[in-house]
Symmetry: C2
Subunit: 262 residues, 2 copies
DNA sequence: GCATGAGGAG
DNA sequence: CTCCTCATGC
């Protein structure tokens, strides 16, 4: 519906490889805010001009090969912040925050974790845990805050294609669920789940699973979470799988939500 | 003109990367014979089906990454031969010969030579020298023979954008000229030169020269040479630079010649 | 600059 | 399967 304030999160898996798809989708969808993850590009190579020509401000922090986050917005972002803590982490290219249209946006690309019971996995759990401190440090739970991004965690059985088989694997592990739940309890509502209780809505399909998208072998690991102050204004949420039909899709699909917010 | 027998030579710089451009051009130009160089593909990955669907027989010999030659033809190729000598050279993916419509076609991708006074350069000179023996071994100079391909040599001052500056560099070196002239004297006419005496007609523009094509900084290193038996039937010859305007052009443009030959 | 492959990652 | 970097060739 025109007039609603719309936010999207989209793991592009390389913004440079995804530019034709991304620009066509921005043109069509016109969200007020787009949170991008895995831009995989150094800041000096970020396609700022093309984004600007599409009508968006862009704030971004990247590195070569891995990670990289950005926020695109029709209004100018304020209070821009990068990284999980104040003293610039090893991977500050995983979090970008800004205030846009009076709403506090936090966009994260949470570490993938590789394998349960590895250092990578414990690093991921610790990273998630620090998000609660992050929200405590910068916001209050009665403010309008939207936490979006690739969380690399599917919260419950409805969010993976084979919950019994996958339980305990990275992305659908009890420890991840516990860690994420601690952050949720700071004051978030899973906006997609709020509107869509049914199972089988995914945002990610592993390239290595043959025909994973067609066979509906996906994961819901990208999320839009909001505090009560704004969750009450949410109108709908959905996964945009259109671009998965076209050429050169990302392994993720965009997740969108609309709010009746001036 | 419809009815003329048309041959083309085209260094595709990877046939797989060039398929969209190549197919559109075949559809438009419909040559009887097309000699391709630098296909850069192993035989098992040669796009045989698409070529066949375009109405062409294909004979090819490739290797991974480098070299690779092919002949596409509307009529079935006979007496097919690969490599410079009978006992399968290290780089047999540089020469393919066949008889098509009664005309003996030899398609070569002559070594580039890298730097004057290196082993690579002397290898190139030796390779060119062996071409005279090759023609002696398989043909007689009064037969219809067409030698086409990327010779990696610009024969005279009209064939490079800066003859004074470039004289002595690889591709425009007196030793290359002498070697090539020995083969010419076996019995060949440079068909393009026969029709177009003017300078400044090129078939190759180094990708590394910024805007080389626009600035006309090219080389005429692709050739169609024919014995008198068939040179006398040649009607015209030209470089097709159309595809250089479109997306993803090769660093070479196709060279074409027409003959009034049944 | 534009191709190729190898090796690493997810 | 689809990205990345790096090395290599022209």
């Amino acid at each position: 519906m025109a007039g609603y304030w719309k936010i999207a999160t989209y793991n592009v898996n390389s913004i440079r490889a995804r530019m034709p798809v991304l620009l066509a989708w921005l043109e069509r969808e016109q969200p007020a805010v787009v949170a991008l993850q895995e831009t995989k590009v150094r800041d000096e190579n970020f396609p700022h001009d093309e984004i600007k020509a599409a009508g968006y401000y862009a704030i971004f922090k990247g590195q070569k090969s891995y990670n990289g986050v950005a926020i695109l917005a029709k209004s100018s972002p304020e209070n821009v912040r990068f990284g999980l803590d104040e003293w610039g982490q090893p991977d500050e290219a995983r979090l970008v925050a800004a205030t846009i249209d009076g709403i506090n946006i936090v966009n994260t690309y949470i570490p993938q974790g590789r394998q349960a019971a590895t250092d990578y996995f414990y690093y991921k759990l610790g990273w998630i845990g620090q998000m609660r401190e992050y929200f405590n440090r910068y916001y209050q739970a009665d403010q309008p805050v939207i936490w979006v991004g690739d969380f690399n965690v599917a919260p419950d059985r409805r969010d993976v294609y084979a919950p019994d088989k996958l339980l305990g694997s990275v992305g659908f592990h009890p420890d991840e669920h516990a860690a994420l739940d601690m952050v949720r309890q700071w004051g978030f509502v899973d906006i997609f789940r709020h509107h869509v209780p049914e199972e089988g809505h995914y945002t990610f399909w592993d390239y290595r699973v043959p025909n994973g998208f067609k066979r509906k072998m996906g994961w819901r690991i990208d999320h839009i979470w909001a505090t009560a102050a704004i969750a009450g204004h949410s109108v709908r949420a959905w996964v945009d799988t259109d671009m998965r039909q076209g050429p050169k899709p990302s392994d993720h699909a965009p997740l969108l939500a609309e709010f009746n917010w001036s």
